[in-house]
């Protein structure tokens, strides 16, 4: 089958069609990695590019992401059994005392779309929980978000928790949120700062593609 058709169905957010086409591709004996990369992830890349070019909005990306998830639900057991690894593992959350989650959710959605496995810890996350969860799921990247000037310092507290573990260098720590800046990120020892969700996904992808597993 033509994976362009699958890719287009994802782009258009046609979840049922995506499921049908993924099932068909699997039945035809196509490699699950090929279906994933050329059918699903490629489509999300196209939608992401359209977003970057101001041709579509986030709701249209979310429709595509949901369609992708429907296809992925069929592929996931096959990916595990055939030993195919995700692009990387990301843990993301909003710091303690901060209830804002829209920006964080956007970053999580974009990182899922690029093929990473994302563990979303939610909002008001205690410092220690970031560390525990990152270690538990063997994360590559930890994304920490804060939206208030008075919760922003908690980003530094989370990073200090990582520093206590001797495993700090194992995790690539990315930070963001309205009051956060590059200089603040440098000051608290983060590995990367981005000012918006698409840049966050780009930086994460570049890092994950560069690391040796």
């Amino acid at each position: 089958m033509d994976l362009n058709e699958l890719s287009l169905a994802v782009e258009q957010g046609k979840g049922k069609k995506v499921k049908e086409l993924v099932n068909q591709a699997v039945a035809e004996g196509m490699s699950v990695k090929t279906i994933l990369d050329e059918g699903l992830i490629r489509a999300m890349g196209i939608v992401g590019e359209k977003f970057r070019l101001n041709q579509v909005y986030v709701p249209e990306m979310l429709v595509a992401a949901r369609a992708m998830s429907m296809g992925l639900s069929i592929l996931e057991p096959l990916l595990t059994s055939s030993g195919v690894q995700p692009l990387g593992v990301v843990v993301i959350g909003t710091v303690k005392g901060d209830l804002h989650d829209i920006g964080k959710n956007l970053v999580a959605m974009m990182m899922k779309g690029m093929g990473a496995t994302v563990y979303d810890l939610g909002i008001d996350v205690p410092d220690r929980t970031f560390v525990e969860r990152a270690e538990e799921v063997n994360a590559d990247i930890v994304c920490i978000s804060a939206l208030l000037t008075t919760t922003m310092p908690a980003i530094g507290d989370v990073i200090k928790e990582f520093e206590k573990t001797q495993n700090r260098k194992k995790f690539y720590i990315m930070v963001g949120g309205a009051p956060v800046s590059q200089s603040f990120a440098d000051e608290v020892g983060a590995d990367a700062y981005t000012s918006n969700a698409s840049d966050a996904a780009d930086v994460a992808k570049a890092y994950l593609n560069a690391i040796v597993r």
Binding site: Y57, G97, N105, T149
Partner: protein, 458 residues
């Protein structure tokens, strides 16, 4: 007793101007809001720092510096009066005594300035709605609500003039709807959930205000419509959706006035222009002079019918001229001076129309704030009787008005934007007018791990 609004408070749109309204509010010190002059409303906040018990003394010193700078500037520039908004940080609401202590320091400086120099200043106290810190939120009981009551009562007792809040009932459902530009769910969140919460909440807050002689001010759907505005500004969601969101928050915020609030409405509640048209109560608004806090496509038009003119919030950071709250104060005072002198010379209507026309054709969010459009939408809102039906009607009428504006060429939208009028129309065409039937449908669709229907009495 619940107030009922079935018609507009104005006969003519030409009377719908800044600085005055049919039902002005007189504060304890005699300052009249909406009585003919527009006054600045200044809000300020801490620079980046931890808000903890250990840093509270430092925070209090910073707040003292901020209010002293603001009051000094107001005296130097001969401000006829001003409102200070103290919007607490979540930590200062969660630990109400910290918030009460902080308020007392600021309020005492204001009392002193009035006694020594005659500068009339009014304190608007805005604690956070921390009920959402429980997930799903617990709306009508529990420790967070008790802490909120403590700070409202403590500050009202210490002289806070106006009580306000940016309440968050229904936001837990609307947050995801915003990212999906899902108008159907937003109508449920605002028309069914938020409105029920507002009725309960504002009876409580008006009761507290009455008990301590404070003014029951008003609410803001900031977490709904301003979140949409900011996301639209960043190019994440359609401006059309943000414009409709703005309008459909009006029936929800109107519930505060129905249940005891008398204004002035909150600065960030742009829906207050509809409330002013319907109830005749005064309102604060913010636009270009709030760019220190957030960008917006409504910098001038927001001032068109404002009774207080606000900076939203600014951090205590040093700029070339001085600290940012003092800078904001100067900017607001000059804005108000110009508007007041125009009104004094009989040009308020012309000035209003200049503010309107300079913005209204560039963005649907500005277009819906045109006074004639506000009247058209407000009439549609009061033609219905319940918050749900008013919300649904507001959405439908707004989409029709925006379609008409685009078709006539008055409002220019780019291609990716224009198609959203049809998309949003189709999202809501099947919503039944029977609220119970709609709630039953939405209870099937909405994620019950995120909200508790029983907290809203549904």
């Amino acid at each position: 007793m619940k107030k009922v609004f079935k018609s507009l408070a104005y006969e003519s749109v030409d009377d719908f101007i800044y600085g005055s309204c049919p039902n002005p509010v007189t504060c304890k010190n005699g300052l009249v809001i909406g009585g003919g002059e527009i006054y600045p409303e200044v809000n300020f906040t801490l620079p980046p720092m931890n808000a903890t018990k250990e840093t509270l003394p430092e925070a209090i010193n910073i707040y003292r510096d901020m209010i002293e700078g603001v009051l000094k500037k107001a005296r130097e520039l001969h401000a006829p009066g001003l409102v200070i908004e103290l919007e607490t940080l979540p930590q200062y609401t969660e630990n109400p005594q910290w918030g009460i202590d902080l308020h007392k320091v600021v309020r005492d400086c204001m009392f002193e300035s009035e006694a020594k120099y005659g500068l009339k200043s009014v304190m608007r106290m805005t604690p956070n709605d921390i009920r959402e810190m429980s997930r799903p939120p617990v709306m009508r009981s529990g420790k967070y609500w008790e802490e909120m009551v403590r700070i409202f009562e403590g500050t009202a007792q210490d002289g806070a003039d106006i009580l306000s809040i940016e309440s968050t009932g229904g936001k837990e459902i609307n947050d995801e709807a915003i990212m999906n530009a899902d108008l159907r769910t937003s109508i449920f969140a605002l028309g069914c959930l938020a409105s029920r919460d507002m009725e309960w909440l504002w009876k409580q807050l008006s009761g507290i205000a009455d008990k301590y002689g404070a003014i029951s001010g008003g609410d803001s759907a900031c977490g709904f419509a301003n979140t949409a505005m900011v996301l639209a500004e960043q190019g994440y969601i359609p401006k059309i959706y943000a414009a409709v969101m703005r309008v459909i928050t009006a029936p929800r915020t109107l519930v505060a006035i129905e249940n005891g609030a008398i204004g002035p409405g909150k600065d960030c509640a742009y829906e207050n222009v509809f409330l002013k048209a319907i109830t005749g109560t005064p309102t604060s608004l913010e636009g270009k002079t709030a760019a220190c806090a957030h960008f917006s496509p409504i910098g001038n038009i927001a001032a068109a019918v404002a009774d207080l003119w606000s900076n939203e919030s600014v951090q205590q950071v040093k700029l070339l001229s001085g600290f940012a709250p003092t800078v904001s104060t100067e900017q607001l005072i000059y804005d108000c001076r110009l508007m007041n002198i125009a009104a004094k010379k009989g040009h308020a209507l012309l000035f209003r129309d200049l503010l309107v026309e300079s913005d209204c054709y560039f963005d649907p969010q500005a277009y819906v704030l045109r006074p004639d459009v506000v009247f058209e939408i407000s009439k549609a809102i009061v033609s219905e009787e319940t918050p749900f039906l008013r919300t649904l009607k507001a959405a439908r009428v707004t989409l029709a008005i925006l379609r008409r504006a685009v078709d006539s060429g008055e409002l220019v939208l780019d291609a990716r934007e224009a198609k959203w009028i049809d998309i949003l129309d189709s999202q809501i065409e099947d919503i039944p007018e029977d609220e119970e039937a709609f709630i039953a449908e939405m209870k099937e669709e909405a994620d019950e791990t995120k909200y508790s229907p029983s907290e809203y009495g549904i």
